[in-house]
């Protein structure tokens, strides 16, 4: 009889996850990861069984985006791991902290093309912040703690830990948790004081400054600091798609989103600005259009926790490496010190110009009560019914742009979407993850029919696990954004963008998956259907919203085109 303190590698894994405070793992078991699923039954960790590994990955992302905590996904080797590649790349592009645990074939079988073998760490090399292949059960605990540290600090991102089956089964001992020390990883969080002062000098001298805010402010939990700084600076604020909610849209300084489908005012403000004060944004091509003609008059201050983002697309006159919240605090202090008892620059002319554009070129749409429903109208009605008090989760495409344009965001982490990778099918599983993280909040996925058909089976997960999300499926019987581009740039030749004559009966499909299924076909039905959906809290609800298939998203800046040319409608083309 043994009385020693040895446990299996799999048990050590559970201990490490518990020490990291993990409350839920999203996953799907299979041969190689089976040893880890057994002690999971005894751990203080809930497991949510996804129907597809991609779904599990997006759930972990939704969880992480809704809270800022590290999301965890666990899948098996081979196809389990390859199905996870899309969420990993998605998390990398959007800087979402997740830890992926993958089973691997036994060590002796690695490299033999064994059943369900894939070179997971190789596949994950470019879609993770870092990855590990664990070869010794003693390393499991320390590596899991490293993985959480890497995922959650600095610029957050996905980290993968690949665990061969024999390593999970091997005996090991768990000692006290050790602090993580990584020689090659020391993110700078505090901005250089001289650069901070230089940034303030530029700001105070600027006549047409814009605070250009990215997702980094949300990751850094810096919204309150941003508000204080923007008000003190008396500068307008443009938010990227990833930063919707970082600054309240109702604030007088808020200009909304710029870029390909941003508002005329936000896009043109950057074009005319003399100081582009970037805090936590990476100058994505959807923001800049052609970088050579982007914000041609502006000097640039660029605050980013990732030094590689500074100067990658746009040279910065004042680069500041640091955590957005920390640097915003430094900036405010430096601003107050610089200014003393002086007033903030009034910039009346600049604000008058901006107000003029807002009046002349508002974001707008018309809903004819007799015509098909417009997505924008549904968004407005939902905003009204909820008072905006919801976590909104987007798919990818036209509806995503309309949500960003028309939802008036007031809180950080109230907008969850796939920004960088543009992953269709993200909304339903991400909403499940978000609802797991924030069970008391209303989590409403706004999805397109094309997206919905990619991952809707996760509604079975939501119904089975008792995760009552709400989903609106905007049914335009096709891939709307593809159709929009074909209409504008391919002479209306609609190649493979029609979803065909056999559309599912979405309410019936939802009912068959254990959800409540509803449908709205006319504008007058939208309000009552939303009320009905909001009254149901014991099951997931799916509303099919039959929408106008011909509606297009404007304004629009052409891909790779100049932000000088904001198309307000098809007639501008």
């Amino acid at each position: 009889m043994t009385t020693d303190t040895h446990i299996t590698g799999a048990q050590a894994l559970m201990t490490a996850l518990e020490r990291e405070g993990v409350e839920v793992v999203f996953g799907l078991p299979g041969g190689a990861i089976l040893p880890a699923y057994d002690p999971l039954l005894d751990a203080s960790i809930r497991h949510v069984l996804a129907r597809h590994e991609q779904g599990a990955g997006h759930m972990a992302e939704g969880y992480a985006q809704a809270t800022g905590r590290v999301g965890v996904v666990m899948v098996t080797s081979g196809p389990g791991a390859t199905n996870l590649i899309t969420p990993l790349q998605n998390a990398l592009m959007d800087s979402t902290p997740i830890v992926a645990i993958t089973g691997q074939v036994a060590s002796h079988a690695i490299g033999t093309d064994a059943f369900q073998e894939a070179y997971t760490t190789g596949l994950a090399m470019h879609c993770t912040k870092h990855s590990y292949l664990v070869t010794d059960a003693d390393d499991i605990g320390p590596i899991i703690h490293e993985a959480f540290h890497l995922a959650g600090t600095g610029r957050p991102g996905p980290v993968l830990v690949d665990l061969p089956k024999d390593v999970l089964n091997a005996l090991t001992e768990v000692g006290p948790a050790q602090p993580v020390v990584l020689d090659g990883y020391n993110p700078t969080t505090e901005g250089n004081g001289r650069q901070v002062r230089a940034a303030i000098e530029l700001l105070e001298a600027a006549e047409r400054p814009v605070l250009f805010v990215g997702g980094g402010v949300i990751k850094a939990a810096g919204s309150a600091e941003l508000l204080a700084f923007a008000e003190a600076a008396n500068a307008p604020v443009v938010t990227t798609l990833m930063a919707r909610g970082a600054f309240p849209d109702t604030h007088p300084l808020a200009l909304g989103m710029s870029g390909m489908h941003g508002s005329y005012t936000a896009t043109t403000a950057l074009q005319r600005s003399d100081l582009l004060f970037n805090i936590g944004a990476r100058f994505d091509d959807r923001v800049t259009g052609d970088p050579a003609t982007f914000a041609p008059l502006a000097q640039v201050v660029h605050v980013d926790i990732d030094p590689a983002e500074i100067g990658k697309v746009r040279n910065a006159e004042v680069p500041i490496v640091g955590d957005a919240r920390t640097v915003l605090t430094q900036l405010l202090t430096a601003l107050e010190r610089r200014r003393g008892d002086d007033e903030a620059p009034a910039r009346d002319e600049w604000f008058a110009t901006l107000a003029g554009w807002q009046e002349d070129y508002p974001l707008e749409y018309e809903q004819d009560p007799e015509a098909p429903i417009k997505v924008q109208y549904f968004i407005d009605q939902l905003q009204e019914a909820t008072g905006g008090d919801a976590v909104v989760v987007g798919g990818v495409g036209q509806h995503q742009m309309w949500v960003s344009q028309f939802w008036r965001f007031s809180e950080p982490r109230s907008w969850i979407n796939s920004g960088g990778l543009g992953t269709m099918g993200f909304a339903v599983p991400a909403a499940i993850g978000a609802k797991m993280a924030r069970p008391d909040d209303l989590v409403f996925a706004l999805d397109g029919d094309g997206c919905f058909q990619m991952t809707c089976q996760e509604l079975i997960t939501a119904a089975t696990e008792g995760i009552p999300i709400k989903v609106a499926v905007f049914n335009n019987h096709g891939h709307g954004m593809v159709r929009q581009w074909q209409r504008l740039f391919y002479d209306g030749r609609f190649s493979a963008s029609d979803l065909g004559t056999v559309a599912p009966d979405y309410p019936a499909l939802a009912e068959s998956m254990g959800c409540v299924g509803l449908r709205a076909e006319k504008p007058a039905e939208v309000g009552p259907i939303i009320d009905k959906a909001l009254a149901i809290n014991d099951r997931p609800v799916v509303i099919e919203v039959v929408v106008d298939p011909d509606e297009m998203v404007f304004p629009m800046v052409m891909a790779g085109g100049s932000c000088e040319n904001v198309l307000l409608g098809p007639e501008d083309l």
Partner: protein, 165 residues
Amino acid sequence: MRHTLSVVVEDQSGVLARVASMFAQRAFNIHSLAVGPTHEEGRSRITLVVDAPDVEQLSKQLYKLVNVLKVTELTPEEALESETMLVRVTAGTDTRGTVLEAAAMLDATLLDLGPSSVTFQVAGDPATLARFLEVMQPFGIAELVKSGRVAIAKESTRAAARAAG
């Protein structure tokens, strides 16, 4: 623009793949690569000669790799550089004497005398290797194998200070 980078990494499996693959991903072109242990336990050094328009961005991308500890750019003025090559020069009975004589003057090491060719080892800075090839070209280069370039900062230079940093 060609740059020589000296990259100190943790000596762990997969590190070279991560570095090399990042270059491919970011469309930076590797001209030469040499990897080997350093004087410190658990540390390896990768010396890269690369074509990249923006070496600063390249350096930042290298630093994003968790196992990368130190990246130093070595300019030709600041660095001592060395390469090794093995060259088989065509040399029949009529030209053999001239080839051997020229090789001796260029400090090449004779490794093998074959019936129709002679094999030399040449080590030194890139200019030395280039000079040798230039001289031997008329006789005919039958085969050529080159190592990656290795480089070390001169003690007197700023790069040395940075590398020691």
